[in-house]
């Protein structure tokens, strides 16, 4: 039956054609979907304007300054979209996206010609922060320690690795500057944290204790206190670390109340960060922890780009030893002053601690999910005691370091 075979072959050909067409459909559909979007926000901070550019894909970029505008060129073969929030800034007048021969340009127009800028970047997710300020403005942007101002256009970013070494070299005992303790009241806003069976919310307890701790420190120590939040608002976890780093924090204390499915779980514990990574990054980080003093000599320039990213994400890795000491001392004070069960010092991969570039701990005061401890956590007396214990711990730790 040759006719039958002929129809069969014709059928197969049509089938392949349909398959190919639908395949190409699927592919083009995917391509069209993956046009990266640049999210741009502009905020005025004291003395400078902060421009934040983020995107779901990593982009390579270069800077060019001319007159009163700054142009950031992006290589974007698959197109680029702009999503900017409305802003009002003293320095930044407008932000526009334009097509350029090699990709796209983000053109930032400012109100003056004599401005300088510095920037920092991270990948996954891609985020570029550019600080612009007028020349002669006194207060400098926080990232000024690794400012790339006045560098020729197209130079890759100076690295955060350099900043991190600087930070670790700074140490705790250095004099002649106001030292800062950052208190981080856990959760906030719709992120309530754990809930007790009487309806107590972790976010309220943490804020209340943090405020008491702030008062204690300001009364007893010559330290400036910065809170990551003063009200019942959402603050993203990476922003909390950024607040600490931008304020050049010397110590970072995150306050939490614990929760467990076990109603009987009880007690106080103090955490410092554990590096949860098993892969190559972790090994390199461990290397850093042990050799941070010789960082500049040991690292070949080829490795530099990768390393800066790792350090930005895991700034805390360089401070684990000091953090563990701080945790020990604070936990001892909690044991002395509170009648709670001692759960000891522990390590866990806390998101909020990873990016903090100074000794940092997270205190789990007591279990909000344990009805007895929930009542205790609500009481003003207990909260005052907790703040006092943490304050004593900080004080002892600082005395130890100032002697050295």
């Amino acid at each position: 039956m040759p006719k039958f075979f002929r129809t069969l072959i014709a059928g197969l050909i049509t089938l392949t054609l349909i398959g190919a067409v639908s395949a190409s459909f699927a592919l083009t559909g995917k391509k069209a979907k993956s046009v990266p979007t640049l999210k741009v926000t502009v905020e005025d901070e004291s003395g400078f304007s902060k421009l934040q550019v983020s995107s779901n894909t990593n982009l390579s970029y270069s800077f060019k300054k001319s007159g009163n505008s700054l142009t950031i060129s992006f290589k974007a073969p698959s197109g680029l979209k702009l999503d900017k929030k409305p802003f009002s800034s003293q320095l930044v007048k407008s932000v526009e996206l334009a097509k350029s021969p090699n990709g796209y340009s983000l053109i930032i127009k400012t109100g003056a010609e004599d401005f300088t800028f510095s920037h920092s970047a991270r990948k996954n997710p891609f985020e570029l922060i550019v600080n612009l300020k007028l020349k002669g403005e006194k207060s400098s942007p926080p990232e000024s320690s690794f400012s790339t101002a006045e560098k020729p256009a197209g130079q890759p970013a100076q690295t955060q690795a350099a900043a991190a070494t600087e930070a670790s070299a700074k140490g705790i005992g250095s004099k002649n500057q106001v030292k800062t303790i950052v208190i981080d009241p856990g959760h906030g806003g719709i992120e309530t944290g754990a809930k007790g069976s009487f309806g107590t919310l972790e976010k309220d307890i943490t804020l209340s204790i943090s405020k008491k701790l702030k008062d204690d420190i300001e009364r007893g120590l010559k330290y400036r206190v910065v809170m990551t939040r003063e009200d019942d608002v959402v603050v993203p976890l990476d922003k909390r670390a950024a607040i600490a780093n931008n304020n050049k924090a010397d110590l970072f204390i995150s306050i939490h109340a614990n929760g467990s499915r076990r109603l009987r779980a009880s007690g106080s514990e103090t955490y410092f960060l554990s590096l949860n990574a098993t892969d190559e990054e972790a090994r390199r980080l461990a290397y850093f922890e042990n050799n941070s003093g010789e960082l500049k000599n040991e690292v070949s320039t080829n490795d530099f780009d990768d390393l800066k990213l790792i350090l930005w994400d895991m700034a805390q890795a360089a401070y684990l030893k000091q953090s563990s000491q701080l945790a020990e001392i604070v936990q001892n004070e909690l044991n002395e002053l509170l009648n709670t069960k001692n759960r000891g010092v522990k390590q866990a991969p806390f998101k909020v601690l990873t990016g903090v570039a100074c000794p940092a701990i997270l205190v789990e005061v007591a279990f909000i999910t344990n009805p007895e401890e929930e009542k205790m956590l609500q009481s003003d007396e207990f909260q005052t005691k907790v703040a006092e214990a943490i304050y004593q711990g900080l004080n002892k730790f600082l005395q130890l370091y100032e002697k050295q």
Partner: protein, 194 residues
């Protein structure tokens, strides 16, 4: 002529079925948000699918009201030629909870969307959004969720070296503001009661 018409009709039916299959192949898979290239690792524990259902003994880790540790509980799951399927069933059993009075740390209404194990030994466990926002998600509550899953999978499947948790196909920062989920976890048997 009649037989020819019949054959053409039969052929057209077959053709439309094939087209539908092709369309499902190309468009159906696009719903999945997971971007990792997956290569199911080994079918070493392959059991020939026979009509009698083969069972496999596994050990699950639950919490106990008595201490802060994870406690093993034996369970039988349906053996499969695919490790991914067995791993999925194991996590489903874990969510169903203990049969011996232990406490399951994962919210019971959580669904397992998918479990797949890559050739480098990372098990991606993709769970529904019900996983998030439990009342008891303090640090300890989150640690219990993570390590009951990580330890149970790594303990029972040799091919699993580390575990990454996804929610609705995407990476999550944390479950409730504490433990960082962006890196895969290696098992930690120091959390298990002896």
């Amino acid at each position: 002529m009649k037989t020819k018409k019949k054959k053409i009709r039969l052929f057209l039916i077959l053709l439309s079925v094939l087209i539908i299959v092709v369309l499902i192949f190309f468009f159906g898979s696009r719903k999945e948000k997971i971007k990792h290239v997956v290569k199911p690792s080994g079918t070493s524990s392959a059991v020939k699918p026979t009509k009698t259902v083969q069972m496999k003994k596994v050990t699950l880790f639950f919490l106990s009201e008595d201490d802060n540790l994870l406690h093993p509980e034996e369970r039988e799951i349906q053996a499969s030629s695919s490790v991914n399927d067995e791993a999925k069933e194991l996590v489903e059993e874990l969510i169903k909870g203990s049969k011996t009075g232990l406490l399951g740390p994962i919210p019971e209404n959580t669904r397992v969307r998918q479990v797949f194990i890559t050739s480098d030994g990372t098990a991606y466990v993709d769970l529904s959004r019900n996983l998030l926002g439990a009342n008891y998600y303090g640090s300890s509550g989150e640690m219990a969720v993570v390590y009951s899953i990580v330890n149970s999978l790594a303990y029972n499947f040799k091919s699993v070296k580390k575990v990454s948790l996804l929610v609705e196909g995407n990476e999550r920062e944390t479950l409730g503001g504490h433990i960082d989920l962006s890196q895969p976890f290696v098992p930690d048997y120091s959390l298990v009661a002896r």
